[in-house]
């Protein structure tokens, strides 16, 4: 560790601290050179280097310099401010300095990690350091803004992730709103018969949790509802929820099914969404026997009573509890919450997109999700796996990676398909005794008990063929293939092209983001990855946080995930929300805009520009005025003010001009 001091006695005394970050920075940047360089910059009184500035001894260096009166402002040249700015501001404050008389120079993410040449990296680091030094001169001492946190939490999406998060919070005593857009909570898990790798019955482990949601006094469950507006900020969100009309008065309905029985349609008329369209349902229905809430719903698009008014409305007469109201209209509820957990899950890949696999063209080709319904004892076939002609299949092919690990569709691995394909292979074998052929690219079974499950399947004499399926066709070449579907694939272990005739094909479709994920992201002001998964704040260290404080992620909306991982993440998200609420307040970045009255010409340019209506006009003083509680600190108004009257704390014109100067002067 070396120290260079210039001994300047100016009022502004800047300490510069350059971090090696182990060798992450020092292997590219000549740190000692930058330290010597910084020592000569105006107002710099101390210039030091250290292996890990963020570690205690590193922070101690700053604190000691503050306590000894050597510095009153600091520049740390290390990693990204998005990473450690809060850490070092805290360091300043703890030693009695003002946390905002501080600036970071990002010489890791923006320099040492992205620059090939050492000399160029050192020069770039020096120019960023000089910019930070120039800038920090103009920093003002500020007070962080503390605002109380509303203790209620909103959970969006009632799959296993949302359910688990809601229950965890409710059990901790927090009031939770759970908003689910389908008529029932449960998500994908409610559709499965068994779950890998333990093969425990999905309903047996999910139903108790769904009932607990319904019964919990701390949970307000709004099914068939959607969030339509989000305002405010961490600790103080104002959310608008649209409750779609279900044409059934929820409080009166007891789920007796009398209305469904009485509907003028004697049998189903519309594809049943819950059963993946394998059967049809009536316009009035309850999606599945364990639906929560157990309340009927009428589909306005197909109900003749609602559409035309010309129906005998036998349902109304049948309902002893007068629960049916065909004139119901939507309801908008406004709530205030301190934190939000998004758990909106995934959708499955549309198998029709891979034309060569013949889905929708040949009968007896099913998606995995359809098969999940078919093997389910409560499903449309009562758990029987049958062909269209009613017979049991003698041979079944399962095609892995449909819409995954494929440059033409989705590049990523959907993570759960290998495992659920094994599960389905086991169930098919158990129920039908058929020969089962799994076509896979690589077998991916990391997880507790997962590889063991694969071993078990090998012992059950399920066939495994390593190779991506080229095509599924009914074009036969031999008498044995007559009347069968032929799966053609290169067996890459043996090096031959195989044609495997089967009666039934299961396409193991991958997981994709919800089609409206981008819109939902926008609504909640969070980002998506290129594919459309919600973006976490940090892939390793903040996996359930987002870049918008107070909004957390749980489950498959963040990326493909199995149930154990979804539940673990939901618990983590609930804990993060609790930590926020438990603290009771949030510290807001004091980066709001302010008007310098003496400069304001009263032109009102800024007023309409603010997306949050934070600027008003003071008629008496004839100047604009910013409401600090509404301003979110974008700075758009500041850039528009022709008189230079509007400024933004932490991003004043002076600060940015000096940064520009610093960056160029010493480049």
């Amino acid at each position: 560790m070396s120290t260079v001091g210039t001994g300047s006695n100016d009022k502004c005394k800047i300490g510069v601290y350059v971090c090696h970050c182990g060798i992450n920075i020092s292997s590219k940047v000549d740190v000692s050179k930058t330290v010597r360089f910084a020592a000569k910059l105006p107002h710099v009184t101390v210039s030091r280097e250290y292996k890990f500035m963020c570690a205690d001894p590193g922070q101690d260096l700053i604190q000691q310099d503050i306590r000894d009166g050597r510095i009153n402002r600091a520049v740390v040249a290390s990693c990204s401010p998005l990473m450690h700015e809060p850490t070092f501001r805290n360091t300043m404050a703890e030693a009695g300095g003002n946390p905002f008389l501080f600036q970071m120079a990002n010489i890791r993410e923006h320099v040492s990690w992205v620059t090939l040449d050492n000399t160029a990296a050192t020069e770039k680091a020096m120019s960023l350091i000089s910019a930070a030094v120039e800038r920090v001169v103009f920093h003002q001492p500020l007070m962080p803004n503390r605002v109380p946190v509303h203790p209620d939490v909103l959970v969006v999406g009632g799959g296993i992730a949302g359910i688990h998060a809601a229950l965890t919070l409710a059990d901790a005593g927090q009031k939770v709103y759970l908003v689910e857009r389908e008529p029932s909570i449960g998500g994908h898990m409610a559709k499965f018969d068994k779950t890998f790798p333990t093969l425990d019955c999905s309903a047996c482990i999910l139903t108790p949790k769904m009932s607990a949601v319904r019964a919990h006094s701390n949970i307000t469950l709004w099914s068939y509802s959607e969030v339509i507006g989000v305002d405010g900020f961490v600790g103080n969100f104002k959310v608008r929820v649209r409750r779609k009309p279900r044409y059934i008065i929820e409080e009166r309905c007891v789920g007796c099914l009398d209305c469904i029985e009485a509907c003028i349609y004697k049998s189903g008329k519309v594809p049943d969404e819950f059963n993946e369209g394998l059967v049809k349902r009536k316009p009035v229905y309850i999606p599945f026997p364990q639906a929560t809430p157990l309340v009927a719903v009428i589909d306005a698009k197909t109900c003749i009573g609602i559409r035309t008014g010309k129906c005998k409305m036998t349902c109304i007469d049948a309902c002893e509890r007068d629960a049916i109201d065909l004139n119901q209209s939507e309801e908008i509820n406004e709530i205030e919450v301190g934190a939000i957990i998004l758990a909106t899950g995934f959708k499955t890949f549309n198998a029709k997109r891979i034309y060569r696999y013949g889905y929708g063209k040949y009968s007896n080709i099913y998606t995995s999700l359809e098969l999940e319904r078919m093997v389910n004892a409560a499903g449309p076939t009562g758990g029987e796996i049958t062909l269209k002609n009613g017979q049991k299949p003698k041979a079944v092919g399962i095609v892995h990676c449909v819409g995954s690990r494929d440059n033409k569709t989705n590049k990523y691995c959907s993570k759960v398909c290998c495992m659920y394909s094994l599960k389905l292979a086991h169930l098919i074998k158990e129920r039908t005794g058929a020969e089962v052929y799994n076509f896979y690219i690589d077998m991916r079974t990391p997880g507790k008990g997962y590889e063991e499950f694969y071993d078990r399947l090998l012992e059950e004499n399920v066939h495994f063929i390593r190779g991506r399926v080229a095509e599924i066709t009914d074009w036969v070449m031999t008498p044995e293939e007559e009347g069968k579907l032929v799966i053609r694939a290169e067996d890459t272990l043996v090096g031959v092209v195989r044609r495997v005739p089967v009666d039934m094909v299961v396409l193991s479709v991958g997981l994709e983001p919800q089609p409206d994920a981008e819109d939902v992201g926008r609504l909640f002001n969070i980002s998506c990855t290129r594919e459309g998964w919600f973006l976490e704040r940090h892939p390793k260290l903040a996996p359930v946080s987002t870049f918008t404080d107070g909004i957390f992620l749980a489950g498959a909306c963040q990326g493909p995930k199995d149930i154990p991982d979804s539940v673990a993440q939901a618990g983590a998200a609930a804990a993060e929300a609790l930590a926020l609420i438990d603290r009771g307040y949030v510290v807001l970045e004091p980066n709001t805009a302010y008007v310098q009255d003496e400069l304001c010409s009263g032109c009102k340019t800024c007023i309409d520009l603010c997306p949050y209506g934070a600027i008003s006009f003071d008629d008496e003083k004839d100047t604009a005025k910013v409401n600090g509680a509404l301003c979110k600190g974008c700075g758009t108004c500041v850039a528009s003010c022709p008189s230079g009257s509007l400024q933004q704390y932490l991003f004043t014109d002076d600060q940015i001009f000096s940064e520009i100067k610093g960056v160029i002067l010493y480049a």
């Binding site: 998005l82 923006h110 990690w113 974008c634 004043t652 014109d653 001009f657 002067l665």
Partner: protein, 168 residues
């Protein structure tokens, strides 16, 4: 075709970038985490939103000696503050006309929408921008242009003193 002259070969342009905190700055961090190497010529200045970009920042950067300016914000519709990037776009179009009037090539400023997940786009855009500006050569501002910019970029400090002078 003339030979690539020495200036073009050895000229190392200085480029100043203004990246919004929520998308493009984050993307630049991601490029770093993923160790995507790129030309060392761009210096990034973080602003909360591309809407904070005062046209004077750009002029003053040219005045101080920048050879090119890169502006990065969230994709349309994705701005963390709803519509700051639309303001940035409007100002950018204006800026292009303005610098053209000053005799500065339009290619010396560039606006890009780069989402938080697009580290590779940061890499590509910075490399392209560096090449473009390298080909254009150093920016040589006319003395009169410098004067005009100086006149335009009266910082608010000076404004304060002017207004105080005016009121006394």
């Amino acid at each position: 075709m003339p030979e690539r002259n020495d200036i073009e070969r050895f000229f190392d342009p200085k480029i100043v970038a203004f990246f919004c905190n929520w998308c493009t700055y984050t993307a630049a961090d991601l490029a770093g985490t993923a160790r995507m190497t790129y030309a060392p010529n761009v210096r990034v200045i973080r602003i909360m939103c591309s809407g904070r970009l005062d046209p004077q920042f750009v002029l003053s950067a040219f005045r101080e000696g920048a050879d090119g300016i890169l502006i990065g914000g969230c994709h349309p519709g994705d701005c963390h503050y709803q519509e700051g990037n639309y303001q940035a776009l409007r100002r950018f179009i204006l800026l292009k006309r303005l610098i053209h009037a000053f005799g500065i090539e339009k290619e010396r400023i560039r606006l890009e929408w780069i989402a938080a997940s697009e580290g590779d786009k940061v890499q590509r855009v910075i490399n392209e921008m560096t090449e473009t500006v390298r080909r254009l050569g150093p920016l040589d501002l006319e003395p009169i242009t410098k004067k005009v910019i100086d006149y335009m970029s009266v910082t608010h400090h000076e404004m304060v003193s002017i207004s105080h002078r005016g009121s006394s």
